[in-house]
Amino acid sequence: MRPVRVFGDGHLAPFPYNTTVIPHPPGIRPAVDSSPISLDEFGLLPVRRPVSVAELGALVIEAAGAGQGLYPVGGRTTLDVGLPPIKPGFAVDTTALDQIIDYPARDMTITVRAGLTVAKLQEALAAEGQWLPVDVADPERATIGGAVALNQSGPRRLGYGTLRDYVIGISFVTDEGQEVKAGGRVVKNVAGYDLMKLQVGAVGTLGVITQLTLKVKPRPEAAAVVGLGCEAESLAAVLDLLHGSRSRPQAVHLTTNAKSRGRGPWWLDVLFEEKKLTVDWQVATLFGELKGASVTDVDHLRDTNPTTLIQTVTDAAAGQLTGGHESRFGFKANVRPSLTAAFCVAARASHPDLHISGEALNGIVSGHVVADLTAGDAAAMLNMLSAIAAEGGGNVTVRRCPTAWKKSLPVWGRPGGDRELMRHVKRTLDPKDVFNPGRLFGDV
C-alpha cells in the first residue's frame, strides 16, 4: 500500500515516500515557555505552539483572515535579527514539531520536522557515524528550521559548504495554510523548482518551514587544529599563503586575539578534518610552509578539542562572546576573500572593543562590540566598512543592535539591484504579508 499524507485541509494525496516516524526517545522534553514574547520591543505577542501541521495551517489561515502577522519562532536564539515587526499578531513556536520522520542512514539522508534542535539532530546522526557538517550557534536550543531560515553557518563552511548545499527536500506551510513540498529524499533531483534554495535564508518570510530532508556526511576519521598568530601588516600575506597552501583546510577561522593568548594581534585557527594520514600530512606540510612566513607563533593545538573550539568560535561569531559577555552591536559582512585582511584590519582600527571573527578564506566576517557605543558610532563604522565591502561586491548587515537604532541603520545592508525582485517575490508569495511582516524588508 502506498503511504498517504494528510494535508491541512484533510485532502488525501499520494505521498511518494516511505514514511516511518521514529518515536521520540523517552526523556524529558525541554520546558516550554508559552508566555508572550516581544520581538524588537514590538508590544507583546502571544505564543501558540501547534502540535501538528494541520493546526499550524489553521493558525496561518487565522492570521491571514484577521490581517495579522505570524512570527515563527524556533529556539528563540536569534529573534532580534532583522527589522522590527510591523503588524500585531502572534508568534508560532515550532518546537513541538520535532520528530525524526525517516533516517535511512545508508542512503545518507535524514528527514526531520523543522522544530528539532540541531543538537538532537546531530545526536541521531552521530549514532550512525554521520553528521551535518554545518556549524550552528547554541545547538541545544537552535532548531534546524531556524538555522535554515537564517542560513546559519560557521567555520566549516570553507570545507563543507553551507545549508543550501545540504537541504534536498522541504515542506512549509504557505500563506494559504497549506503544507507544500519541493525536492525529495534523493541526493540528486531536478524535478520542479528549487524551493529549498528559496527558503534557505528567507528569514521565515515566505512560510513556516515544517520539514527538511538533509543530505548528510560521514564523520571524518581524524581532526587537528593548527593555531597561528600574526601582525596586522602580515595578515594579507598569511591568508594568501593559506589560500595557496598544499594543505586543504576545512576551516580557517580568524579572530582578534584574546589578550590572554598574548601573541600577535590576529589569531588564526586552521582546522583539518580527514583521514588520519591525510590530517597528519597536512599539519606537517603547513608547518613547513609557514617557516619563514611572518607569523608570530605556530602551534599544533594538540590539547584542543577541535569540536569544542569550533563551537566556541561559532557561538562567539553569533555574539555569545567568551566570558559571558553579551554583544551590544554586531554585524556580519560578506566580502571578497582577497579583501578579508584589509577589511578586518580597518574594522579593528575603527573601535578599540570590537571583537572580530571571520571565515577568512570565505570572506565572511562578524564583528561584535561589547562596550558602550552610540548609534552614531555604529552608523559611522558601518558606513566605513560597507564602503570597503562594496569595492568587491560585498555588503555589511546588522546582526544585533538596540531596537531604536534599527530605524536609522542599514540592517540588511545596502540594497543591491536584486532587492526589488526580492520584494516582488515576497509580494507574490505572501500578498497579505503574513509571515514575519517587516522583518526582512520593512514595509513591502
Binding site: R2, F7, P16, Y17, P104, D107, T109, N151, G161, R164, D165, E179, K181, G184, R185, V186, V187, K188, V190, A191, G192, Y193, D194, L195, M196, K197, L198, V200, G201, A202, P218, R219, E221, R246, R248, E274, L277, T278, D280, W281, Q282, N334, S338, G363, I364, A389, G392, G393, N395, T397, W412, D418, R419, L421, M422, H424, K426, T428, L429, L440
Partner: protein, 493 residues
C-alpha cells in the same frame, strides 16, 4: 491566485514585423528566418516533440537580449533561450513558436580570479572550455556533464546539470555564485556575485534549475574548485549488476566519499568496447568505475579499502588505471558511451533519467531488467551510480509503431518504480516537455500551484519558455502528450 498562461499566446503579428524588429536589434546577419535554417532548431536532444520557432536570433550582449525580449513583449510573442541544444527533456522546444534566443555568440570567459575562486562567463561558454582555460591555474569548474564538450554554462545553469564527479563535488547549483538575467519583461537583474551570502533571498539558487522559465541568463559567476592533488581510478569487474550495485552501497556505507562511481552494464560494455577498444571484459555482468581523489597522503589506503569492498562484494577482478593516460581513456569511454549506442544496431534510442535512494539500486536494476523482458525492449545501462541516478537506454526502431509503444510503456514503468522506491523522475535532465505528466505523480496539486506562483513572480505572462515543467491547467487527468506523439530517430540521445 494568479497563474501564468500555460500555453503560449498565439503570435498576433506577422513574422515579417517580428523579423524587422530582430534585424533592428542584432542585424540581419544574426537572425535566421529561412525554413531550412529554422528546421535545425525545432527540437533539442529530445526529438520526439518538434516545434518550429518563427525566428532564431544570435545576440552578442546583455543589452541585445534585453532589446529582443522587449520587442517580443511588444509584439506579444513567446521567446526562450537555447544554448547547445543538448537538453534531453525538450527544454528548448519553442512551444507556440516565437523567438529563439541562441547564446552561441556569447562565448567569452570574462574574468578568471583564482584568489577569490570565481570566474565570470557569458552563457554560451561551453562547459569544457572553462575547465581547459583553468588548467594552468590548477583549478577547474566542478560540474562535468557527459555532454561537457558541447553543452553551455547557460544551459547547465538552467537545468542544474550534474555529471560523474557531482557525487563528491555537488551539482551546478553548488557552484554558481551569481547570475545576471534578463527578466521576461526586459529588465536586467544581477543576483549574487563574487561574494558569498548575499543578503536576502537566494535568488541565484532559485534561478538555477528553473529550466529557462524565469528569464534569459546573460552572465554567470561560477565558483572554481581546486584540482585534486591525486586520483586512484579503479575498475571493478562484476559478474552481476546486483553485486556491482551492492558494492556501491557498501562503499558509501563505509564512510568513503568517492569522487565518482559509475556503472556500465554488459550491453553497454559491448558498444563502448567496439568503439574504443579499451579492453573491457565483454563477459562481465557490469563494471564499476570507482574513483577516489584528494591529497596523495592517505589516498592509497582509501583506494585499498574500496578495492577490498569490491572484492568482498564478489568483484571477480579490480583493475587500476596506472597512468593519467589510462585514466583519461577510461573517462573518455564513459563520457562518450551514449555516442556508441549506434553500434548495437538499433536505429533509435531513448535515455531515461530517474533517481532512487542508492540502497534501492539493486531493486531498480532488477525492475529495469524485468520491464525490458516484459515489454520486449533492449536496454543498456550506463549511469551515475553513486548518486542513485539511473540512465537506462531503451533501444528500438522508430519505424515500427509497436516498438515505439513498448518503449514508452517501459520508460513510464521504470519511472513509476523510481517514484515508488522514494526517488524522482529526473536527476539532471529536467522536466522540460518530456516529463510533464510525471509532475502530478511527484507533487500534490498545492505543491504545483505554489511553484506556479513562484514562476508568476518572474514570468507573469508566461511568455518566457511557455509549456514547460507543469502540465496544462487542471493537471492530473491530462493524457500523456508524449504517448500521442511519435518518437523520432535517436529520440532523447
Amino acid at each position: 491566485m494568479t497563474t501564468a498562461t500555460l500555453s503560449a499566446p498565439a503570435p498576433a503579428v506577422s513574422t515579417a514585423a517580428l523579423v524587422a524588429r530582430m534585424n533592428a536589434v542584432v542585424g540581419a546577419d544574426n537572425v535566421l528566418t529561412a525554413a531550412a535554417d529554422l528546421a535545425v532548431y525545432e527540437c533539442d536532444g529530445f526529438t520526439i516533440e518538434k516545434h518550429r520557432p518563427d525566428v532564431v536570433v544570435f545576440p552578442t550582449s546583455t543589452e541585445q537580449i534585453a532589446a529582443i525580449v522587449r520587442a517580443a513583449n511588444d509584439l506579444g510573442v513567446p521567446f526562450l533561450a537555447r544554448g547547445a541544444g543538448t537538453s534531453l527533456a525538450g527544454g528548448c522546444a519553442p512551444i507556440g513558436g516565437g523567438v529563439m534566443i541562441a547564446t552561441a555568440r556569447m562565448k567569452r570567459i570574462l574574468e578568471v580570479n583564482v584568489r577569490d575562486r570565481y570566474a565570470v562567463v557569458e552563457p554560451g561558454v561551453v562547459n569544457v572550455w572553462l575547465t581547459n582555460a583553468l588548467k594552468p591555474h590548477g583549478y577547474h569548474y566542478a560540474p562535468d556533464p557527459s555532454s561537457q564538450g558541447a553543452c553551455t554554462i547557460g544551459g547547465n545553469v538552467a537545468t542544474n546539470s550534474g555529471g560523474p564527479h557531482t557525487l563528491k563535488y555537488g551539482v551546478t547549483v553548488n557552484h554558481i555564485l551569481g547570475v545576471e538575467m534578463v527578466l521576461p519583461d526586459g529588465r536586467v537583474v544581477t543576483t549574487g556575485g563574487p561574494c558569498e551570502d548575499n543578503p536576502g533571498y537566494d535568488l541565484t539558487g532559485t534561478i538555477v534549475g528553473s529550466e529557462g522559465t524565469f528569464g534569459i541568463v546573460s552572465k554567470v559567476w561560477v565558483r572554481l574548485t581546486r584540482n585534486p592533488e591525486a586520483y586512484r581510478t579503479l575498475l571493478g569487474v562484476f559478474d552481476s549488476i546486483d553485486d556491482a550495485t551492492t558494492a556501491i552501497s557498501e562503499i558509501i556505507g563505509a564512510g568513503i566519499v568517492p569522487g565518482a562511481l559509475e556503472l556500465l552494464d554488459r550491453t553497454m560494455l559491448g558498444a563502448v568496447e567496439a568503439a574504443f577498444k579499451f579492453g573491457f571484459p565483454l563477459d562481465a555482468g557490469a563494471v564499476l568505475i570507482m574513483e577516489v581523489d584528494g591529497l596523495e597522503a592517505g589516498l592509497q589506503a582509501e583506494a585499498d579499502r574500496v578495492e577490498a569492498i569490491a572484492l568482498r562484494c564478489n568483484a571477480r577482478e579490480v583493475r587500476k588505471a596506472n597512468t593519467e593516460a589510462e585514466r583519461m581513456a577510461l573517462w573518455k569511454a564513459r563520457k562518450q558511451a551514449f555516442g556508441t549506442i549506434g553500434r548495437l544496431g538499433y536505429p533509435s534510442y531513448c535515455t531515461q533519467d530517474g533517481v532512487v535512494p542508492r540502497t534501492k539500486l539493486p531493486q531498480i536494476m532488477r525492475h529495469i531488467q524485468a520491464v525490458a523482458e516484459k515489454h520486449r525492449v533492449a536496454v543498456a545501462n550506463v549511469f551515475h551510480a553513486g548518486d542513485g541516478n539511473i540512465h537506462p537506454i531503451l533501444m528500438f526502431d522508430e519505424r515500427d509503431p509497436d516498438q515505439v509503444r513498448r518503449v514508452l510503456l517501459a520508460s513510464h514503468d521504470i519511472l513509476d518504480e523510481c517514484i515508488n522506491l522514494g526517488g524522482s523522475v529526473t536527476g539532471e535532465h529536467g522536466i522540460g516537455v518530456e516529463k510533464l505528466d510525471f509532475m502530478p505523480k511527484l507533487f500534490a496539486p498545492e505543491d504545483l500551484a505554489f511553484m506556479k506562483r513562484l514562476r508568476a513572480a518572474f514570468n507573469p505572462d508566461g511568455r518566457c519558455s511557455p509549456g514547460k515543467l507543469f502540465p496544462t491547467a487542471g493537471g492530473c487527468a491530462e493524457p500523456s502528450s508524449i504517448a500521442r506523439l511519435k518518437p523520432g530517430r535517436r529520440a532523447a540521445v
